[in-house]
Each structure stands twice: as structure tokens, then as C-alpha cells.
Amino acid sequence: MIEPRSRTPGTIDREIPTSLNQLYQEVILDHYRKPRNKGHLDEATHVITMNNPLCGDVIELMLRVEGGSIAEVRFLGRGCSISQASASMLTGRVLGKSLEQALELSGKFTHLLHGDGAMLSDDDLGDLRTLAGVSKFPVRIKCALLAWNCLEELGDATDADSGSG
């Protein structure tokens, strides 16, 4: 015989586990609820939409590249706090960078999500470092990377276009 383990109704344990506190930092929730640079970019030179078919999250990333650097960036999308906050933060960090520099940042960010502690002291990542808590939730890494996958796809497409490899 086994009992359903005792759960005492009424005594709600509201202590937030550390892992959740690290995952859902105020900065992240702020970007989720007040996304930066969200909207359509009319004069985009680069547009790409990617989705995560398993969960339905969608990001459309729009860039205006001028004179070799990202002059304007916006996104549209829907999904969880992690995917949307990550996209919002991306727009802040890649502005003014060349595509190449943006992709370099994407590489660093990916390392951060896979638990590379060295990235925590990399200023280039800025507030993206608040997403380090995602590394404790492997199934959520793909959420944080969705917008960055857009960037990588654009980079690949640009490489192919230029023909220089």
C-alpha cells in the first residue's frame, strides 16, 4: 500500500527556488513585458522568420544594414518569456555592430547558455548575461537561442550571397 504523499492544502509554499529566481530575473521579465525594438521595420535589408515547431514560438528578425553595420534592428514574435526577452536583448546588443561582430556575439551567448562561466565576465554580452540561468534548464536553451538562430541564418545567407564563403 502506498499513500499519496501528504500535501497539506492551505500551507502554500511560496518560497521561490533559487534556480527559478536565476531563470526569471527582473531584467528578463522586464524585457518580456516591455520588449525593446519590437515592431515592423519598413526599410529592412535583411528579414527572416524562424519558429520552434515543437512549442510554436516565432521570431521575425528585421535588420537594416548600412555601410557594413547594423543601423536598425527590430523584431516581431510570440512565445515564452525567455524567447521574447532574448530577442529584445539581442536588438539592443547588435545595434551598430557588423554582421560578423553580431555573429561573434551570438557564439559567446551560446557558450553562456551552455554553462561557460567565463562568459559572465564578458562585457560585450551586457544584460544578456542575466540569461545565464537558462543553462540549468537544458530544454529551455532552444527558447533563448531562437532569435540568435535567426541572426545565424542571416549570416549564412549573406555569406552565400557574397560568394566569398
Partner: protein, 449 residues
């Protein structure tokens, strides 16, 4: 219990000890669900839970509250033991050998067919075709019956609440044959619009294929009514029973349908196996689905003749151990009794509805009545994936996403819901755990916006 040794072999030692230790009368009194015994007519939840070893494990330091049963259910010791016994003592290929093991394996396999037939409500076991699951059962009908009897311009009526598995096979058939697909509308409440069905029947479609129970809304569709209207218009009917067969004994005769598809793994059996029930005369006139061994009567280089139903549709060596487990799951449910299962699930459903209704910011989808204990909801601006992550930290397993129901999500103008789906082994305490977990989510998000 005669199976003590087998039980111990398959049970984690820590929890096996725990089972004995917590079996005392005082622990039972502490459970706080003493009213349930009288309400459910002697339903001993603790004894039932004890048969599912996985239910006593911890997840992230909390007792597991498994509320993802609409995705897949857990398996009782009886099923685990039966599969193990088959593999240890009886395994050989079926329908082939003359030797003892092959005879025993064949008897185990065909015995399972009889048990599954009984669950579906047919006395003719030959009307049960084993498949890989509901998905393959629908694909079988779309390929075999569809390719043989459907042509350009023919109409097939589906509904807007179908799981992708009862949608995409028909889209593929439409691509092959040029037939047209029509969709019965869903009301704002989450039920089928039967007036819309009547409109679609006016052009005399060949088939109406719809789900018995919605996997995301929990809606129980009026299958008999739909079948009668379809038949009056000259259409055959296929019912996707994946979400119904686990909760109710299916009586295909009472439903009156022509095809009924369901899966083992949602009704306490193993994954990778399911069944198609079809009226015998339909199976007899349908061409084979796949070619190979087992499904033939005689093979010559110029051509072959087919085995009798159901073997005509079971090419190759089947998932024998899976089928054996499926059969044992059907017997297990029969022994529990569908009335007892329904009664306990109904009590859980009413209790959960009442609790969820009281939570500010929570929006529940689907009808109030004529539903199962499957609850799709959104909670303020906490995205379902975030909710699922937070609940998981409390050991609570729910599903988040579109539930293979993208057109239905579009219909409601949302991209995802959180879904808590209960089964007969769930406890009222797990409803409390869910509600406490929602309170935690509100805390993590600094309030529900």
C-alpha cells in the same frame, strides 16, 4: 499477493519500503480524502497508486504529480510484469513456428487481441488490427480505404478540433487523389457546431472523421449523433478514440461508427502499439496497407493473395511484446471497471474545475459539461512554457504548447496553452499541488498581468 517477488524486482527499493511504511491506518486517515471512499464506492486510491511504481518517485525534490496523461499514461506493475514475463519466458515469432515458444507467443498475441477487442466492445477479435498507434491506424484507413475508394472531387469532412494525426493523413490523401477536405466549425465554448456539420453533409461527403474526445479541450463529442447524421447522408465515419478509450469502455456497436482508432500508451499500456477497429466487411473489401510477411496467403513471383483479416493488415513481425502489454492494460482497466474509473475521474474533474475557477487571471478553455478531466488554460501573461518550467520545479508535470492542435489554437487566437490532464490514479492532493504551483508562478512573475 502472488506476485510479490515480481513486484519487488520492478520496484525501486526506497519506495518499496516506503509503500509498506506508509500503509498504516493512521497514514490513511491523514490523507484527507476520506470522503472519497463512500463517494466512489470503495475506490481505494492508495492501493491503485501502489500499482504504478513511477508515481512514488520524486522530481526536483518534490513528489511527482503526473498531470500529463493526455500525452501518455503510466504503466502499472501488472503490465510491466506481463511484458517482462513474455520476454523472459515466451518470446518467439508469432504465427510462424511449430515449436512451443512460437505457440505460446502466438497465444499471448492473439489473447491480447481478444482483450483489446473486448475493450472496444466487439466480440469479433478479427475486427481489431494492431498498429503502431492511433496515428498509424488513421494512416492505414487513409491509405488503404482512401486510395481504393476516394477520388477527385470526393469530400471528406473533418473538424477544426482534430489532432494533427487525424488531419495530416487526410491532407496527404487529398494530395494523392484530389479529394476535398471540409471542416466542421467549433463553437466559442469549444464544442462542435452540429448545424455546420449538417451544412457540410448536404453535399454528401464520403467520410466524416472526428475525434471522440478533444485532446486539448477535453470536449466529449456526441459521437452517436454525429454518426447517425453522417450515415443518413451516406458517409462512413472514423472516430479518433485516442483520448476516449483510456477513460471509458468503448462500445463500437453503440457508437455505430465504421472505424475507431486508439492507442495503448494512453491507457496504461506500452508505447508503439495501438489498434484500428473496423467493421469486418470494410476490412475485407479494403486492400492491404503494407506488403510483406504475415499478411499473405500465397506468394508467387507474378503476384500474391492476401491473408484473411486482420492479418492482411499486419505485414511483418509485429510489436509482439507491446501488443501483449496492450492486452494486459485492457484487462487491467476492465478489472478496475469503467464505471469506477469514470466516477473517480468525474470527482477529480469537478474538484479541479472548482479550484481552477477560483484562480484570478486563469482562463480555462473548453466546455463546462460533456468534458473529461483535461484542462487547457492560460494564466495571465505567464507563457505556458514558463508555467510548465515553474511547475516542474515542484514536481508537477503538465504539457505546454499547441498540443498537436494548431488549427484549434488559431481558432481561439492563441498560440499555446498549459494543459493539465488527469487520470484515474491522480489524487485530490495533486489538484492542490497544481494550484499551489500556480501561486508560485504568480510569485515568480511578480504578479499576474
Amino acid at each position: 499477493m502472488a506476485k510479490t517477488a515480481e513486484t519487488a524486482a520492478l520496484t525501486d527499493t526506497r519506495h518499496a519500503t516506503g509503500m509498506l511504511a506508509t500503509g498504516s491506518p493512521s497514514a490513511a486517515a491523514d490523507r484527507g480524502d476520506s470522503g472519497e471512499a463512500s463517494e466512489d464506492g470503495g475506490w481505494d486510491l492508495a492501493a491503485i497508486r501502489a500499482q504504478f511504481p513511477i508515481l512514488s518517485r520524486d522530481v526536483n525534490g518534490h513528489p511527482l504529480a503526473y498531470l500529463d496523461n493526455a500525452a501518455s499514461s503510466q504503466q502499472p506493475l501488472r503490465v510491466l510484469n506481463r511484458v517482462e514475463r513474455y520476454l523472459r519466458e515466451q518470446h518467439a515469432n508469432v504465427h510462424r513456428g511449430v515449436h512451443q515458444l512460437s505457440a505460446e507467443a502466438t497465444e499471448a498475441y492473439e489473447g491480447a487481441r481478444r482483450a483489446v477487442a473486448a475493450h472496444a466492445g466487439t466480440g469479433d477479435a478479427a475486427e481489431i488490427v494492431f498498429t503502431r498507434g492511433t496515428t498509424e491506424a488513421v494512416n492505414l484507413v487513409a491509405s488503404s480505404w482512401g486510395d481504393a475508394f476516394i477520388g477527385a472531387g470526393d469530400e471528406i469532412v473533418l473538424t477544426k478540433m482534430e489532432h494533427h494525426s487525424n488531419l495530416v493523413p487526410w491532407q496527404l490523401l487529398a494530395g494523392r487523389t484530389g479529394c476535398d477536405l471540409r471542416f466542421v466549425d467549433v463553437t466559442p465554448e469549444g464544442t462542435l457546431d452540429l448545424d455546420d456539420l449538417d451544412r457540410l453533409l448536404a453535399t454528401r461527403p464520403r467520410l466524416v472523421a472526428c475525434t471522440h474526445v478533444s485532446n486539448s479541450l477535453g470536449t466529449v463529442n456526441p459521437v452517436r449523433e454525429i454518426v447517425d447524421r453522417a450515415h443518413a447522408a451516406g458517409a462512413l465515419t472514423l472516430i479518433d478514440g485516442a483520448q476516449a478509450a483510456p477513460h471509458m469502455l468503448t462500445d463500437v456497436a453503440k457508437l455505430g461508427c465504421d472505424f475507431y482508432a486508439f492507442s495503448s500508451h494512453k491507457m496504461c499500456g506500452p508505447t508503439g502499439v495501438g489498434a484500428l477497429w473496423a467493421r469486418r466487411e470494410l476490412l475485407e473489401e479494403m486492400p492491404p496497407y503494407q506488403g510483406g510477411g504475415e499478411m499473405i496467403s500465397e506468394v508467387k513471383l507474378e503476384g500474391s493473395s492476401w491473408a484473411k483479416v486482420p492479418h492482411k493488415f499486419e505485414a511483418g513481425t509485429p510489436n509482439i511484446s507491446g501488443v501483449v502489454g496492450f492486452g494486459e492494460a485492457a484487462r487491467f482497466l476492465a478489472d478496475l471497471g469503467s464505471d469506477a474509473i469514470a466516477s473517480h475521474e468525474d470527482a477529480l474533474k469537478r474538484a479541479a474545475l472548482e479550484r481552477l475557477d477560483g484562480i484570478e487571471g486563469l482562463r480555462l478553455y473548453g466546455p463546462r459539461d460533456e468534458r473529461t478531466a483535461v484542462f487547457s488554460f492560460t494564466y495571465g501573461d505567464v507563457h505556458p512554457h514558463d508555467l510548465s518550467t515553474i511547475l516542474d520545479q515542484r514536481g508537477i508535470a503538465i504539457r505546454a504548447g499547441h498540443h498537436c492542435n494548431q488549427p484549434l489554437m488559431d481558432h481561439f487566437g492563441i498560440s499555446a496553452t498549459a494543459r493539465a490532464s488527469f487520470y484515474f490514479y491522480n489524487s485530490p492532493q495533486e489538484i492542490d499541488a497544481l494550484c499551489d504551483g500556480l501561486a508560485l508562478a504568480a510569485e515568480v512573475f511578480g504578479g499576474i498581468a
